[in-house]
Amino acid sequence: MITLEFIYVLMGLLLAGITAVNARDRTNPKRWRNTAFWGIYAATFLFGSYLPPLASGVLVLAMTAVAGFGGLGQGAPDTTSADERVAHAKRLGNRLYVPALLVPGVALLGTLTLKQAAFHGTPLVDPRQVTVISLGIATLVALAAALAILRPAALTPVREARRLMDTVGWAAVLPQMLAALGALFALAGVGKVVSAAVTRWLPLNGPLGAVIAYAVGMALFTMLMGNAFAAFPVMAAGIGLPLIVHRFGGDAAVVSAIGMLAGFCGTLMTPMAANFNIVPVALLELPDEKAVIRVQVPTALVLLAINTALIYFLAFRG
C-alpha cells in the first residue's frame, strides 16, 4: 500500500538534492546557511516519523535559528536566459503544456479512482490520504513526461527545483510552523480565554448584535489563528450555538456553514495564513510582503458584510 510515508521519503530526497546543489554553489555567500536549512528540513521528511518529538522539536528550532538570525541567501540562478527561453518556446510550442497539465490531470484522476483501487483486497493507496498522495504521484508522472519531451541533463530538475525553492526560502516552512503554533495555542487554552473575553465584553442582547459579534468574531479570531478551522469551534461554542441557535432560535445549518465562510474572509486578510498569503508572495517574487493581502482586503470586507447579512436574514427566515 502506498502511504503518505512514501511521498515523504520522495520529498526528503528532493530536499536532499536541493541541499547538495546548495552545498556546491560557491556563488552564494550564505551557501552553508542554505545547506544547513534545507538539510535539516530534508531530515524531518526522511526520518521525522521515527524521531522522538523532542528531537524533531530541536531540529525545528535549529532551522528557525539558521533562517532567523542572518537569513538565507541565493546563488546565481543556473538556468536559461530570457532570449533562450523565447527560442525554446517557439521551437517546442504547445508540447510544453503536456507536463504542466499532467499535474492537475493525474492528481484529479488519482483522487477519483484510487480510493477504490485494491489489489487482492489490500487498498493500493491509503484511502484517508488519497488527495495528497495523488498530487505526489502526479508530480512524478509530469516530471517523467517533461524529461521525455525536453531531454534535459540528468541533474537539471534538481537544479531548477533548487532555484525555485531558494526563491521561496524560509516561507516554504512557515505553514508548518504556524500549524505547530496553533497546536500550542490549543494546549495552552488560548481559544477558551478569547471566547470568554468575547462573550463577556460584547453587547449580545439581540439577534442582530449576536450575529454581528459572531461573524466579525469568526473573521478576527481566524486572523489571529491563521485558520478558520481553529476559530470555528471557539466562536460556535461561545456565541453561535448558545445565543443565535438556542436563545434566538436561529437555524444551526445556516449559522455554522456561513459562519465558517465569514472566517474565510479573515483568512484572506492575515499573514498568519502563510500558505495562502505569504508563500505566493515569495513564489511570485513580489517585493511587498503584504502584496497579496492588500489586494484581497476589499473583497474580504465586502464578503464579510454580506455573510453577516446572510446569516441574519437566512437563519431567522421562518
Binding site: M11, L61, A89, G93, W170, P175, F232, M260, N275, L283
Partner: protein, 245 residues
C-alpha cells in the same frame, strides 16, 4: 482566566508589525504561549516538533517544483505569453474572471488540487494575466506587473475558499458536522453545503467585478507608474553626477 496565554498573540502581532522574520516570531510566540500555559520547556519543544512532523503534508505541494522549474527553463511562461498575446479579446480582468469561475466550480466538485500557487498561478495564470495587459499597454512598469501577479494569487485564494464548501466531503464541512454532532445536533452534510452557495455567488460577483474594474484602472496605473519611474530617473541623474565629483 489566565490572560497570560495571550502573550503569543501579542508577540505575533508585534512581530508582524515590526516586520521581523516571521519564522522567528512564530517560534518565539509558540514557546512563550506554551510556557505561559504552564508547560515546561521540554514539553513545549516536544509539542512543536510533534505538530511540525504531523503537518508535513502541507509541504507536498513543493514536489511540483522540479517539473515547473524544468518547464520554465524551456520557456513555458514565454509560450503562454505568446499564446495570450494572439487572443485579442483577452484582458487581465477577463483572464482572472475566467480563472475565478473555473477555480470555484472545480473546488465545488471537490477538485481542489486543480489550482494552487505553485502549480497553476506562477507557471500559467500570472503570465496569462500579465501578457493580456502587455498587448494593450505595451511593456509593463514593474509595479504594475507585480500588482497583476498579486491579483492572480488573490483570485486563486478567493476561488478556492468560496467554492470548496459546496463540496460535501471537504474538511470544513466535516469539521462543522462533527462539532454539531458533539453538541447534539445531527445534520446532513448536504444541508451545510447548500448554505455555502449564496456566499459562493456573492464572492463571484464581488471579486469578479473587481477584476473587470481592474481592466479600466490598468491604463491609469501604467501611466502613473511610468511617470514615477521617470521622476525617479530624473531625480537619480543629478545625484549620480554629484557622486562622480
Amino acid at each position: 482566566m489566565n490572560l497570560l496565554v495571550l502573550i503569543g498573540v501579542v508577540i505575533v502581532i508585534v512581530g508582524f508589525v515590526l516586520r521581523l522574520n516571521p519564522l522567528l516570531v512564530v517560534t518565539v510566540a509558540g514557546l512563550a504561549t506554551g510556557l505561559a500555559g504552564g508547560l515546561n520547556l521540554i514539553a513545549v519543544v516536544e509539542a512543536f516538533g510533534k505538530s511540525f512532523i504531523e503537518n508535513r503534508y502541507v509541504a507536498i505541494v513543493w514536489m511540483v517544483l522540479p517539473v515547473i522549474g524544468v518547464l520554465e527553463r524551456y520557456g513555458l511562461q514565454e509560450r503562454t505569453r505568446q499564446l495570450v498575446s494572439r487572443v485579442h479579446a483577452a484582458t487581465t480582468g477577463r483572464v482572472l474572471l475566467s480563472y475565478l469561475a473555473v477555480r470555484q466550480v472545480t473546488a465545488a466538485l471537490g477538485l481542489t488540487s486543480l489550482g494552487g500557487h505553485a502549480q497553476m498561478v506562477r507557471p500559467l495564470i500570472a503570465p496569462m494575466a500579465e501578457a493580456a495587459a502587455e498587448t494593450r499597454h505595451g511593456e509593463l512598469p514593474r509595479a504594475v506587473s507585480e500588482r497583476i501577479r498579486a491579483y492572480a494569487a488573490a483570485t486563486d485564494n478567493v476561488g478556492l475558499f468560496f467554492g470548496e464548501d459546496i463540496f460535501i466531503a471537504i474538511g470544513s464541512i466535516l469539521l462543522i458536522r462533527g462539532f454539531l454532532e458533539q453538541n447534539g445536533i445531527l445534520l446532513e452534510p448536504a444541508r451545510l453545503a447548500l448554505w455555502a452557495i449564496p456566499t459562493a455567488i456573492a464572492a463571484f460577483v464581488v471579486h469578479g467585478s473587481r477584476m473587470l474594474l481592474l481592466d479600466r484602472r490598468l491604463a491609469a496605473q501604467v501611466r502613473a507608474a511610468r511617470a514615477a519611474d521617470e521622476r525617479a530617473r530624473d531625480g537619480a541623474a543629478p545625484a549620480a553626477a554629484e557622486g562622480g565629483r
